[in-house]
């Protein structure tokens, strides 16, 4: 069975946030909810200063602490390694959000679905069709666009990235692009000291 994962090529990321917008559009995310973010890190002192961009999303950990602490069994891992949330089971206790070292979980407050993106209490047609996929009060996160993956497509953030800084594929397939990148350029998982075995790697 495949073990789906992602590689971020830090050299290529230009911090344009197209991935963030693509993700929000694909998943109809309400105001303030992000499944992926691009963080920046400044270093050095002028004139020898620099900035790197660090894309982040759910790391779909093999030993996912969010799944371990979930009291209702809402968080589970698919056969292909994608960590999912069943919002029919989620009780919204936020234990998973507290347990995730990467802070990649978001509670869907009920008010998010009432005020709308423009904060005027009226939902746009885009919001009306998109919000039906969410259950207010539950906790949500990135699922690697599982519907797209099931259809043989890459996640929305990957296809939106103009610089190919996000590479998605089967980490267990030595011929896949992400597996090769990890091997050739020494992929680093985020926070390895947390022992969560992330399926997201960074290469520089």
């Amino acid at each position: 069975m495949a073990r789906m994962g992602m590689v971020f090529d830090i050299r290529r990321c230009i911090g344009c946030n197209a991935c963030v917008v693509g993700c929000k559009q694909e998943n109809s995310l309400p105001d303030g909810v992000f499944f992926t973010r691009t963080l920046s890190e400044d270093y050095g002192v002028y004139p020898n200063a620099g900035r790197v961009y660090i894309p982040t999303l759910c790391n779909h950990c093999e030993d996912a602490p969010c799944e371990k602490v979930c009291p209702s069994g809402a968080t589970y891992t698919r056969e292909d390694g994608i960590v999912m949330v069943d919002d029919n089971k989620c009780i919204g206790c936020n234990s998973c959000a507290v347990a995730c070292p990467y802070d990649q979980r978001t509670a869907l407050g009920k008010d998010l679905f009432e005020k709308g993106l423009f904060g005027e209490g009226e939902l746009t047609a885009f919001e009306e069709q998109g919000y039906t996929r969410f259950t207010p009060g539950t906790v949500t996160k990135c699922d690697f666009c599982s519907e797209r993956v099931d259809a043989g497509l890459d996640p929305a953030c990957v296809v939106t990235c103009p610089t190919d800084a996000r590479i998605f594929g089967d980490l267990d397939d030595p011929e896949s692009k992400p597996a090769k990148l990890i091997k050739e350029r020494g992929g680093r998982p985020p926070m390895p000291e947390k022992n969560t075995k992330p399926k997201v790697y960074y290469v520089t």
Partner: protein, 305 residues
Amino acid sequence: MATRDFPIVGDSLVLGYRFQRHWDNSMATAFFFGELGAGLFLIGALYGSLISMIFGVSITAILKTYFHMAHMGVPGRAWRAMIRPDRSWISRGFISIVVFTGAALLNILLNGFGLAETLGGGAVVSAIAWLMKVLSIMAALFVMTYHGFAIADSSSISFWNTGLMPVSSVAYSALSGVVLALSLDPAATAAGTFLLPSAHGAALILLVVTTIVLLAMINAANRGSPGARKSVRLLLKDGPYAAWFFGIVMAVGLLLPFVLLVLSEPNRLVYLVTAAAILAGYFSFRVLVFKIGLYDPIISFAPET
């Protein structure tokens, strides 16, 4: 683990420490009432104070449940929280609350109100009464402890991830239970038994123990990971939390009660003031632990200098 000194960045899109805001004041209040009620019940059971037992189980069953429901996104599915006791402290806690409430109520009815004798006091009834007594005490002990485990289980927040967290839960729970029992029922708790000191003496001992545990926890965090050190700095030096910690948790919550218990003539008013001070400090501690929780920066790509 972060090696650079990263800033606390809030929700901005910059690499750095982020506050946890997922468990908020309602969760802290639920934990507070859970521990307070279980501690009060346990002290009531040990010292034979029926009113303390009744208040204890009521606080846990009603107030803790209310604040958990207030925190929960989908309270209608709360029952689902009990289905993963094999791996989740929240599940274990949920089950222990149900067991504690049931066993404590039966214990109060059978032993406290003498229902066991009214029912004839046969072998079966006596056995059930004894079983409920033991079960309610064991469940109370579990409730006093599990909150600490539920918090410490989160390795994502370094300050929380310490074995001293459950110890602090038990210490604070027992301390608040004993001073509240002294206020509610000074007569019943005045004298100790052959195994227990007087409740007054127990309160003094627990005050010292709680202070030591608290200081040990802060010291351990300060010698731990950068994230834990950052949390300690928030608690002791930076921002509004330091005044809150030193003023309410330490001075009002621990020092003032110690002075009152040592220097004042024991009477109900002193116990009431002592209990109010300790509960204020304890509640502040619960809230502050959640407020100073920080997520570490996920990964750094700054060149080594």
